[in-house]
């Protein structure tokens, strides 16, 4: 019998000896060299489970059952052994970095375990080489991009040559391109070095193609599924657990077709990538056309609404942070309409955040101006919503500006109820999950009754259900309350579902503004996966819902 790299038997965990079990009856074993994804709703205990494998990080509480890493109990290993056997990469790229230079960060772990200089030099060198860090080996860690930081964190752990690599949502703070880069390296670590990988991640689109094993943690704290990807998709398809939205676009589309009985058959596994999705859709279309002459193929209606009044306008705005620095915004013209959700997309450093700051009036343009009514209230939510909170309890925090905004406790309570945060009113704001933090920050801002909401990456780090909730709230604010909403994001699928218009910033100017639907149809590279799958076969499809509509299928209960 082969020994498992990671094994848990009847593992149970509770926060206190008297507390209820958060996890129980967890039993699984990972073969050496496997790549396993652990899924589950937020708050289901994924992090607690992962941390149980690393004694240094284990959550305080009482646990029962057996944990084995390479056959040994990790809690009985020597400190050095324990540090090197399991590597652990956490969510935030910033906070994991300890030292000020890249080379020192790579050496940090080896210094800690007291490795001799000669071996250390060699280990650091070969690791830097494998991860392509040679070029920025001498840089200061503060000057690295988010993607480089997380790559450095991975390298700084791999330098200790762990047998098992555990990652807790490593790319949730990265933009899609950096995330792709990270996964590519992670795949190399697994494929070329044979390191066992256990990862939690809500970008299933990126990670499922590599995974040979999926563990699914149910809401009740038990392992609801343990097997290969295909079985996982099949289980979700028949038994929707709210994770459907997190699946890759190709997989969602095939589930949809299967559900409506138009499954082409003849495939042994669900499509995961865009390429597989295209070949799947082609055969599905052939089946459908053979079955009935008149396939609906009605073009999904362009969802663009007529635009309302412009309430905030940037006119030929030029901005730079200092005289000696290049312009970040070069002659930007931009209109924001009341009662609509607008999205601003573009690469890192394209000036999205700066444009928001200029529209909010906290950065004065060097040339050009911001046009708005005198009494227009503009609110900006920056990227780290935690920075909005100062009090120990959520409800006290929301009351902080009651004098300024002239609102009362009952307003706060209503707002909490509206966002479904009523249960959490006595929580410390820092103890909220990513989605809850985002909603609480929105609630706090909305109490000031702004006319314009500028949101910098409101979807960053959110899982699919939380994203859907935020999207619904924003749509509601625009359509029902007539607020103008402008958001920046890297999540194109979110834009295609929520935004009415989409603008692209490139080369420090707005290159185009278009109805969101048309925007993605006209783009090839910068578009949603569904649009890429459907291109040339089903016209006008940007989301899975569009595919359903255009094939005349019932949308089912899937999207939205």
């Amino acid at each position: 019998m082969t020994e498992h790299a990671v094994e848990m038997r009847d593992y149970a965990f509770a926060y206190g000896p008297a507390g209820a079990d958060v996890l129980h009856g967890i039993t699984f074993g990972l073969e050496s060299g496997s790549f396993a994804v652990l899924c589950g709703a937020s708050g289901s205990g994924k992090s607690t489970l992962l941390r149980a494998l690393k004694p240094e990080l284990a959550v305080a509480g009482s646990s029962r059952g057996t944990v084995r890493v390479l056959g040994d109990d990790p809690y009985l290993l020597s400190p050095v052994e324990s540090a090197t056997r399991v590597g652990f990469v956490m969510q935030d790229p910033e906070n994991q970095i300890v030292t000020d230079t890249v080379w020192h960060e790579l050496a940090f772990g080896l210094e800690s375990i007291g490795m001799d200089t000669q071996t250390m030099r060699r280990r650091v060198a070969e690791t830097a080489h494998f991860f392509g860090i040679g070029g920025w080996f001498d840089r200061r860690t503060a000057d690295l991009s988010g993607g480089q930081k997380q790559l450095l964190n991975l390298a700084a752990i791999m330098v200790m040559q762990p047998d098992v690599l555990v990652l807790d949502e490593p790319t949730s703070q990265l933009d899609p391109i950096a995330a792709k880069g990270f996964f590519d390296v992670l795949e190399r670590v697994n494929a070329e070095l044979g390191i066992t990988v256990l990862i939690t991640e809500h970008r299933l689109e990126e990670v499922l193609p590599f995974a040979d094993r999926v563990l699914f943690l149910g809401r009740d704290g038990t392992l609801a599924y343990d097997g290969d990807c295909d079985g996982f998709v099949r289980m979700l398809g028949t038994d929707d657990k709210g994770l459907y939205a997190a699946l890759p676009a190709a997989t969602r589309m095939s589930l949809l077709l299967e559900r409506s009985g138009t499954d082409p058959g003849g495939h042994d596994s669900y499509p995961v990538t865009v390429r597989e999705g295209r070949s799947y859709l082609a055969s599905a279309l052939a089946t459908v056309r053979a079955q009935s002459e008149q396939v609906a193929e009605s073009l999904p209606a362009e969802r663009a609404l007529p635009l309302g009044d412009v309430i905030l306008r940037a006119k030929d705005v030029w901005f730079r942070y200092a005289r000696a620095m290049p312009f970040v915004l070069r002659g930007v013209d931009f209109d924001l309409y009341a009662g609509r959700v607008a999205a601003l997309v573009g690469g890192n450093g394209s000036g999205k955040s700066t444009l928001l700051a200029a529209l909010a009036g906290i950065r004065q343009p060097e040339r050009g101006r911001i046009v708005k009514a005198r009494n227009l209230r503009v609110a900006l939510m920056t990227q780290n919503p935690k920075a909005l909170f100062v009090r120990d309890r959520l409800v006290d925090d929301l009351l902080e500006w009651s004098d300024l905004g002239d609102y009362s406790l009952s307003d706060v309570n209503n707002m909490l109820e509206r966002f479904g945060l009523g249960q959490l009113r006595a929580r410390h704001p820092y103890d909220l999950s990513g989605g809850e933090t985002q909603k609480a920050a929105l609630a706090k801002i909305l109490l000031l009754e702004p006319d314009v909401l500028l949101l910098d990456e409101p979807t960053k780090g959110l899982d699919a259900p939380a994203k859907a909730q935020v999207g619904a709230i924003l749509t509601d604010l625009a359509l029902r309350e007539g607020k103008a909403v402008l958001l920046t994001t890297h999540d194109l699928e979110f834009v295609s579902e929520v935004a009415h218009t989409c603008s692209m910033l490139f080369g420090h100017e707005v290159t185009c503004t278009q109805g969101a639907h048309g925007f993605f149809l006209d783009n090839l590279f910068y578009s949603t996966p569904t649009a890429r799958i459907a291109r040339g076969m089903l016209d006008g499809c940007v989301t899975t819902t569009d595919v359903a509509v255009s094939l005349g299928l019932s949308e089912g209960t899937y999207d939205g």
């Binding site: 030292t99 000020d100 800690s112 920075a387």
Partner: protein, 311 residues
């Protein structure tokens, strides 16, 4: 190589050199020594950073130096040759000389520190003292990571706050209150950050064994030669100064400046960073015909032989 070859030497050599240069600059006011120290440190700074930064450094250190020099000559009336007298104040030639020497001494020290900053970067410092004081050196590098991070955190917290409530109370008091609030936010965020950093440290075995230190620097023959030469020069100079071989007095009369071997010894020691540049002159015998073939007897095996043995 922009910083010159001396900066590539082992940090211990550089450190010893700067300790000596700054130490000697402090310990003598002999005009010839002061002039030498000033000239060499100035030249080295120009060599390291170019004229502009040199002039800027001089611009900031000359005024206080002149001020100190003048003040001394004004209040110190021990000299014999009186130039000008007004009540209890008198200016004498000896006092002026003394002031100039003192000013020059300060200038030299400041210039040496400017050079030190260029050559002895922080990583070299931590490398030197890291093994003796692992905790302190780790703290230094953590702080130097932490400071820029807190600054940017603070800026973003300030921005998000100004964008929301900045318009409500533009008064000084309101600004002050918001400043206090930003500080509170920073404390909260900082604690959150540090919990995760602490996790990351312990996950990588912090405290699991005696810390060692990653060495980016090695001892070569040239380091041994350099530190030997430096040691000999330091001892020689110290001996010359201690035995009053180059004694000098300002009061009551300025002693004449006599030629001495001491100057050459001092110049040689201070000129260390320039002396090591001579290594650049070591070229292959036949000038331009350098082909990359190994000139030394040991080491690199013949490429053809290696190819031959493989087949």
């Amino acid at each position: 190589m922009a910083k010159g070859l001396f900066a590539t030497y082992h940090p211990a050599v550089c450190m010893l050199f700067f300790l000596a240069a700054i130490g000697f600059a402090f310990s003598t006011q002999h005009p010839a020594y002061v002039a030498l120290s000033c000239t060499v440190s100035g030249a080295y700074l120009v060599y390291l950073r170019g004229w502009r930064p040199f002039l800027r450094t001089m611009g900031t250190c000359i005024p206080p130096v002149v001020f100190v020099g003048l003040l001394n000559s004004l209040f110190n009336a021990a000299g014999a040759t009186i130039l000008w007298q007004w009540g209890p104040f008198c200016i004498c030639v000896e006092g002026l000389w003394y002031g100039v020497a003192m000013g020059g001494m300060l200038t030299a020290v400041l210039l040496w520190f400017a050079c030190y900053n260029e050559v002895m970067t922080e990583d070299k410092f931590t490398y030197l003292f890291g093994r003796r004081l692992p905790t302190v050196s780790l703290m230094v590098t953590m702080v130097s990571r932490w400071v820029p991070r807190m600054v940017s955190r603070g800026r973003s917290a300030h921005d998000s706050q100004e964008a929301l409530i900045g318009g409500y109370d533009p008064s000084k008091k309101g600004k002050l209150q918001r400043g206090v609030r930003t500080a509170t936010v920073l404390v909260g965020l900082g604690m959150e950050d540090s919990i995760q950093t602490a996790d990351s440290m312990s996950a990588r075995g912090y405290g699991s064994a005696m810390r060692t230190s990653y060495a980016r620097f090695k001892w070569h023959a040239r380091e041994r030669v350099a530190i030997g030469a430096l040691g000999v020069l330091i001892v020689a100079n110290a001996a010359l100064l201690a035995t009053d071989a180059v004694a000098f007095a300002f009061y009551p009369l300025v002693s004449p400046i006599e030629l001495s071997w001491g100057y050459a010894t001092y110049a040689l020691m201070l000129g260390m960073p320039f002396c090591v540049e001579l290594e650049r002159l070591r070229r292959p015998r036949h000038g331009s015909s350098y082909t990359g073939q190994p000139r030394t007897r040991v080491g690199v095996p013949d490429a053809k032989k290696m190819g031959g043995s493989a087949t």
